[in-house]
Every structure is written in C-alpha cells, then in structure tokens.
Symmetry: C2
Subunit: 194 residues, 2 copies
C-alpha cells in the first residue's frame, strides 16, 4: 500500500469509529482533522464535502464488513455450516469491530426518512446484504439442510431482525443475556427452517 | 383540559413529530418556537434546557404509546388473543402514529452509547416495555395457549427484534412486502411458542 493509500485508510478508520458512536451526521471534516492531527485544508482537499466524507466512510464500512463477515462466510462449506458461519461472523462485527456498534444499523435510523445520496447508497448496500443472506440460506436448501420450500428472503428478514434485537438488548439495555437470547432465537429460526 | 395544559400537549405533539423524523438530538427550542409560532422565550421558560425538552418529549411518547398500544392490549382477553392485540397495536404505532416511525427505536440508536438522563429514562422505559410483553406472553401460558415451559423473556426479545426488522424493511428499504414478512415471522414465533 502506498503512503497516500495508507493515510487514506487510517483517516477512514477514524471516521468509521466516530460514525459508529455519534452517527454519520455527527461526522465533520474539522473534528476529523483534530482527531487525525492532519490539516483541515488537506482533508477538505481530499473529501471536498461532508457528504463525500460520509459516502466514503460508508464505503469503507462495506469494505471492512466484507473482510470480517462476507469473505469468511464464503469460505465455509455450503449449507447450514455456512449459515452458522455468517451468523457468528456477523455477531463479531456487531460486537467487536467498532466501538459504537454496527454503523449500518446507525445509518438505517439516520437516513430512513432523509432522501439523498447517503440514503441511496445505504439502501443499495442493505439490499445487497439481504440478498447475500438469502443466497447463503439457499445453499442450505440445496444441500438438504433446510427444507425445500423455505422462503429464503423470509429467513433473511428474520435474521436481520435478530441482529437489531441483539444490538438493542446488548448495547442499550446492557442485558447480560443479550448474546444468549440472540443465539437461542437463531437456533429457533434454524429449527423452523429444517 | 386547561388552556395551559392543551398548549403544552400541542407543543409536545410537535416535538414528538420532529423527534420521529430527525431524532431527539435534532430537537431544539428555537426550531420548536418557529414550528408552533410561540415565542422562544416562552418555550425557554417552560422547558429550561434542551435536555428537559428531550425528556418531556420522551415522556409524552410514553403517554401516547400507552394510549395506542398498552390500553387496548389490556382490554383484550388474556391469552393468545391478547398477544395478537399487542402485536397489531404495536404495528399501528410503528406504521401510523408518527410520520418518522417509532421514536423509541430512534432514541435507542441515539443514546445507546451516550450516558445521561435521556439514556437512563429510555432504558427504564424499554425495560418496562420488555417486561410488559413478557407478562402478556405469560397470560398465554397460563391460559394454555402457549406451552408451559415457554421462556416469556425470550419471546419478548424475539418480538422486539421483529419490530426493528419491520421498521428497517418498511421505512429504509421501502420493501412492499415488509408487513407480510413481519406478520409471517410473528406467526412463526407463535408456532414455536405453542
């Protein structure tokens, strides 16, 4: 990686960290300059606008998510084992990847009523993700682990819901049983899919 | 209702409307003065601080939620019918009560990493709500509609998760099947509880 590319990654890592705690609307070039000890004019030259900073930070989140969740999932054997890998890596992402939790969940609440490029980019990413989950569930159908008439999109909806529930119970309510509850609900979903 | 009390309710209705669209952090006394055509100094005298405005708006949301969801639920016969009433009225709240959707979901994302009075008030409200759901599920156990070893708190967790999934699919993704997916997942949850 060139020095310029490495600097860009470290700036976006910091931006992602901030967005996970205060949201994408809480990002600003000035504050990021303070946190990275770079010049504000240098960051302005790079990002040009707050919206560009937000969009590139979202893009960076997708790239991190792909490394942490998507790649390992695709390495697991097709079928229920791949579904379980997806679930476990997604829990890692939600729990450990960012101090303030999943930025896609944060952005979902920030942009669901707010038209614009961030809304559109987020919707594209979230649709891709729902389709990815459904495709992985489909491998468990074709391998015979899940029943042949499983509605894979319904499965994706339920799994996505669970992850929101996990964030709520774990981060907001600080419920010590949040992880156990999420795992139990996941096993219930698998049972209903067999 | 006295004129003063009616004015207070109409200000808080407007604040709730704003919070549902831009979040509680997006509330300000100045902007509320513009929207209600009242004097900024009058509103300052009433609310004293932004935090007090946020807390009273949250309190107002709880009161609205009690009228729209909790009261009708408690009027339904104990058992699965009461669980269904809770679900249907909660869907009404999520879908129709506020232009920008459920303010508790919005606040959950805003305050999960932000200590303070709003965080604490929200956590109290959300714990009360989880206990209410578990209690209603418990009536379905004691009436023999749900199995005797049902974990009512687990049921509450799964139902809460579903509602987050509904908001995400319906509001962010604008998925025309969001309501059907949520209802199908609810029926699956009932099946697993019998």
């Amino acid at each position: 990686m060139s020095k310029g590319a490495a600097t860009r990654v470290s700036i976006l890592d910091e931006a992602l960290h901030v967005a996970s705690q205060v949201g994408f609307e809480g990002l600003s070039i000035g504050q990021l300059a303070d946190r990275t000890e770079m010049s504000k004019s240098g960051l302005f030259a790079h990002f040009r606008s707050k919206e560009q900073l937000q969009l590139q930070t979202l893009d960076h989140a997708v790239s991190r998510f792909t490394d942490i969740v998507v790649r390992p999932t695709l390495k697991a054997p097709r079928g229920e084992r791949r579904v379980r890998e997806l679930f476990d890596r997604w829990l890692d992402w939600e729990t450990d990847a960012l101090a303030g939790g999943c930025v896609f969940a944060t952005a979902s609440i920030e942009y669901d009523d707010q038209p614009g490029e961030m809304h559109d980019a987020l919707v594209r990413q979230q649709r891709d993700w729902a389709e990815f989950i459904a495709t992985v569930a489909g491998t468990a159908v074709s391998e015979g682990d899940f029943r042949s008439d499983l509605d894979a999109k319904q499965f994706a909806f339920s799994l996505q819901s669970l992850m929101f529930g996990y964030r709520h119970a774990g981060r907001l309510l600080n419920d010590p049983s949040a992880l156990d509850r999420t795992r139990a609900a996941f096993e219930q979903l698998l049972d209903a899919s067999r």
